[in-house]
Symmetry: C2
Subunit: 228 residues, 2 copies
């Protein structure tokens, strides 16, 4: 994952959209928490209005500490609709199930960030390359220097959007169920959490690959490592 630029002690500024109204104990205004959630992932859900109706598209992203990058085909409806329009980008890591004594207190341990703003289409060639590098390295660190980089035709076919990391809301839930000190504790039921682990598996070579081509160390080193 791309190492985020640290923002020690910085807090996110509240707006009407990011103010935590409910379950405030799960809300955070810690800028470092936002950076950590973004650094731990590479797939987001992009919410945008297309032809008057809300759409939520899963897509990859890159984040460099100040900007979140999204890309897609220049012909894509989701990206064509996004510039100059309000979007919401949500990144979620599901860490496990919260198994309480009552169904009502059941829940999920998770880390999530919602980022709001109006994305800008990146047109400057140098900025576009840097943004695509950030986006590529977010999911596949080492591949920008290893694989063939985009040529002029490929760059022209790719739309890159930049969303400032200015307006964001972070929510995190960790730990045990909340009903351990309530009346339901007397029911004698087991309670706790069931963690969810995400790991990279073993590399699967393309069947079209010649037998003499071995994977580079930046890829072999990831097999079996945690992924979020």
């Amino acid at each position: 994952m791309t190492a985020p630029i640290p923002h020690p002690g910085r807090t996110l500024t509240e707006t009407d959209r990011t103010r935590h109204r409910r379950l405030r104990e799960q809300g955070s205004l810690d800028r470092a928490a936002l950076d950590a959630i973004l650094a731990a992932g590479f797939v987001c859900h992009l919410g945008v209005t297309v032809d008057g109706s809300v759409r939520v598209f899963p897509t990859v992203y890159g984040a460099d500490g100040t900007t979140l990058y999204l890309h897609g085909s220049v012909a894509s409806r989701s990206l064509l609709a996004a510039p100059e329009a309000d979007v919401c980008v949500t990144v979620t890591h599901v860490d496990g199930l919260v198994l309480a004594r009552s169904v009502f207190e059941h829940g999920v341990n998770y880390r999530s960030a919602m980022i709001y703003g109006v994305p800008r289409t990146v047109t400057d060639p140098e900025e576009k390359l840097a943004g695509l590098r950030c986006l590529t390295e977010q999911s596949a660190p080492g591949q920008w220097d290893y694989a063939r980089r985009p040529n002029r035709k490929e760059l022209a076919a790719t739309a890159l959007l930049a969303l400032p990391l200015d307006e964001a809301s972070v929510k995190i839930r960790t730990g045990a169920p909340d009903d351990g000190d309530g009346p339901d504790a007397a029911l004698g039921l087991w309670a706790g959490t069931l963690p969810l682990h995400t790991r990279w598996g073993a590399l699967r070579p393309d069947p079209a690959l010649g037998p003499d081509i071995t994977p580079p160390p930046h890829l072999t080193g990831r097999a079996g490592t945690p992924a979020s």
Copy 2:
């Protein structure tokens, strides 16, 4: 996970929102593919317009083959905004990275479903209990019968929304990179996929729990099993 009601051979009806315009080979109108994607998960991303701007909330769901259920506090802004309004619910499973010879052909293996519609608030007590059961059993099968069920006060504090599984779009990508037979194959670069595995970990008892309370078999049986 809840077993979906099978729809052998049924196909999803295309609408303007669900028609696959780009990368049509990744699009599917197979109703069974939708059911399988929903059955394999329990967290969705709900897109809804609140105060004129798009929001994307991560939330748990239940799906019974004809209806997708969402729940939340009756005080939640996301759920208050959702009934009588168009929403988009997206469920995504990330299966791995597609590591091609060129950066341009890099991608993600995934399964995703986007469901569109106008949710209905469930008010009938029997239907509400059945929907909450479906939602609980989606993430934590066995817990509806094991844990204490919602009482009258908890039911009143919970809003349940029902979204028909009528208008949906499915996208799936599997397998090796697409540039194995192109000019980039001559570059001599390794290419293939890096799978991503999601598994349940070991149960973590609530520290407030007495030492004599052991977890039930429906929970112990899940540790170490695949989760999506």
